[in-house]
């Protein structure tokens, strides 16, 4: 009985692994090791990565492009094990979204000794071949400045939902948001609370803030994952005046901009980022050398109308802004910017 279950499980596992081998003359094997796989952003990210691998493999006759992703499910030890195993597999390029960069320094050297190109994701690493970064502080500042401008100089109270304590992306985004808000005197941060990237926790915090601060004007977050449950709570309570300032460029959140609840978002878009990974790996494979610290292009998203209002209230003209239709198009279709056509 147990033997059957075991072998069934193993057969399943084997079937899943089968696609990796097969030789072609020129091969590009990419592995993406991420810290998680369940948050909406992660899902879009990994999906974009998978789609891009398939598209590149199909588009170029002469190169066999393959790839896979692994999720450490939040555990540092697991991520280290996955990285060690992957180095032993000798792929061409590794993207590693390290839970903690210090812990990965020894492994970078090991990977490079095997001829693997190491690309540090989000948190830059000096030793890595390349670092793929988001510009979190600048993005956060844009979000905060947008809030300043769209509050039109009126007294304005905001609660800021943070990432897990100690998480570098979350800390950088927080720093940026507070910096942006500090550019005006009328916006007051009445509360800051980490929601640990968790939607249920975010909803509880939002609900508690609504009762604690009945005159709250806005909720700002370091991820769009906090926006869904907070908007649900506000809408169900019939509170349509409250504004939301998001971060991530999740498509459903950008869609809610036209109705006026979501005021601003940062267009990362997981889908785009996944596509950009594969494009970057392909460029390196073809002998190009991107910037050592590669900055992912992440514009601010506003409605056209709000952008006008913001400009009238002192929002800097040089900040690059995408309007909703363009943002939606780009967010959904990673191949527009980073597909095989972009490097042909």
């Amino acid at each position: 009985m147990k033997l059957k279950t075991m072998t069934a499980g193993l057969a399943l596992a084997t079937a899943f692994g089968a696609g990796a081998a097969l030789a072609a003359d020129d091969t590009l094997d990419i592995v993406f090791i991420n810290d998680g796989h369940v948050a909406p952003y992660h899902v879009a990210w990994l999906t974009g990565f998978e789609d891009a691998i398939a598209a590149y493999d199909k588009a170029f006759e002469d190169v066999k492009v393959s790839g896979r992703w692994l999720s450490a499910e939040g555990s540092l030890e697991k991520m280290i094990q996955q990285t060690e195993v992957t180095i032993n597999e000798r792929p061409d390029v590794m993207f590693v979204n390290a839970i903690n960069v210090d812990a990965f320094e020894p492994l970078v050297a090991k990977a490079q000794a095997e001829g693997i190109t190491w690309i540090a994701v989000h948190s830059p690493m000096e030793s890595a071949d390349y670092s793929f970064t988001l510009g979190d502080v600048a993005n956060g500042t844009n979000q905060g400045m947008a809030m300043c401008a769209l509050s039109k100089g009126e007294p304005f109270k905001v609660g800021v939902m943070l990432g897990q304590a100690g998480n570098p992306s979350g800390e950088a985004r927080r720093e940026g948001i507070l910096k942006g808000i500090a550019t005006c005197d009328n916006v007051e941060v009445v509360a800051e609370q980490p929601a640990d990237w968790d939607t249920v926790k975010a909803q509880t915090i939002a609900e508690n803030w609504f009762t604690q601060y009945p005159d709250l004007n806005a909720i700002s977050g370091v991820t769009d994952a906090y926006m869904y449950p907070s908007i649900a709570i506000a809408t169900n309570a019939g509170n349509t005046d409250i504004q939301f300032y998001g971060y991530d460029g999740d498509i459903p959140i950008i869609q809610q901009m036209e109705s006026g609840q979501v005021m601003a978002d940062i267009l990362l878009s997981g889908t785009r980022e996944g596509w950009n990974f594969v494009q970057m790996a392909y460029r390196i494979h073809k002998g190009e050398t991107p910037e050592k610290v590669y900055d992912f292009f992440t514009p601010l998203v506003l409605t056209e109308e709000n952008h006008k209002i913001a400009l009238e209230h002192g929002f800097p003209e040089d900040v690059q802004v995408y309007y909703v239709p363009q943002a939606l198009e780009v967010a959904a279709k990673g191949y527009l910017e980073f597909g095989p056509d972009s490097v042909k």
Binding site: G36, H37, V38, A39, P40, V43, T47, A165, A191, E192, Q193, P194, D196, D198, T199, V200, K201, Q203, T204, I205, E207, N208, W209, F210, T211, Q212, P214, Y228, P229, I231, A232, T235, N236, A237, P252
Partner: protein
């Protein structure tokens, strides 16, 4: 005079909760506002459902670790059916049917095959976690719109959320079953000694299967309410957090984990206590890193208090 002392000891959780509420009120007057009370009442519903299911399992001397992750799976089952059919009826039926089947499976494994409940339900935790991601296409979110979800998630009756009233009704029904029916007496008897229960002619296996079916059904209800409140479902919801809060609620409520002891009222007060703590830690902007320390200490203290109470009862009995 001795009656007051006894009351204080036996119902300590009520006084502790009230005292705590008073302290929080003094720090932040808004704590006792109607809005905040109603927010707490809604936040405790999923935890409360899981705690109630766990209550019967624990009193009978077992544990069910699958309740938290189960409720995430049931929320996603509801979402998947909603996505396929555009309606809720079929999804609700499916959640109820599947959760009862899962509970039946757990119950049979524990009673007929004599497997340890800890391991059976731990495996089911992993299975639920796996299925929750596998049945939803590429792990994406499903948005839940429509009257039913709004009704369950946000509508009120005479100032109370319907979901909270449902919870209270379920606790009342459980109170009656636990205190005034033979089935309730069987649960306690099994928790005290399975051998004696069997010798007394109680159909132990059947009662145990019933207990696990009820707890799984509670997690099904929790899934429905959780998803309605969120307005969407996704596999990454924190099911284990719900499980732990549910267990903490019944420990704090004085349920003795070795089985055979505990009151529904105690469990309900334990639940309120957890709700008040979770809410107050937010409202008072307590630094996140202290939350776990606080919870761990509270559970240890509650265990210690239960022990003292139990000792004093032993002495009284002699």
């Amino acid at each position: 005079m001795p009656d007051v002392g006894r009351l204080l000891r036996e119902k300590n959780i009520i006084f502790v909760t009230l005292a705590l509420a008073l302290v929080f009120y003094l720090i932040s007057p808004r704590f006792l506002s109607l809005d905040n009370m109603s927010a707490i009442s809604r936040q405790i519903v999923p935890i409360g459902l899981i705690a109630l299911g766990q209550f019967f399992v624990v009193v009978s001397g077992n544990i069910d670790l699958s309740l938290g992750m189960g409720s995430v799976l049931w929320a996603i089952v509801l979402g998947v059916f909603f996505g396929l059919t555009g309606g809720v009826a079929l999804g609700i039926v499916a959640v109820i049917a599947f959760s009862l089947m899962a509970g039946f499976f757990n119950g049979v494994m524990v009673s007929k095959l004599k497997l340890p409940a800890f391991i059976v339900t731990l495996s089911m935790l992993f299975v639920a976690q796996g299925l929750s991601g596998l049945i939803i296409p590429r792990g994406q979110q499903i948005f839940l719109m429509g009257g039913f979800f709004k009704f369950v998630g946000a509508e009120k009756f005479m100032g109370f959320y319907w979901s909270f009233l449902f919870l209270v009704a379920l606790y009342l029904a459980a109170y009656i079953v636990y205190n005034h029916t033979r089935w309730g007496a069987y649960v306690i008897a099994i928790g005290n000694s399975e051998e004696n229960a069997r010798l007394a002619g109680i159909k132990v296996d059947r009662v145990k299967i019933g207990i696990f079916m009820f707890s799984a059904l509670c997690s099904g209800f929790a899934g429905i309410i959780l998803s309605s409140r969120m307005g969407f479902v996704q596999p990454g919801l924190d099911g284990n957090g719900l499980l732990l809060d549910g267990i903490a609620a019944i420990i704090i409520g004085g349920v003795l984990i070795l089985g055979g002891r505990g009151t529904i009222g105690g469990a309900f007060w334990g639940l309120l206590f957890i709700g008040v703590i979770n809410n107050a830690l937010n409202l008072l902007n307590v630094e996140d890193v202290w939350h776990q320390v606080f919870k761990g200490t509270v559970i240890l203290a509650a265990l210690g208090a239960n022990w003292v109470l139990w000792q004093s009862r032993q002495i009284e009995a002699q």
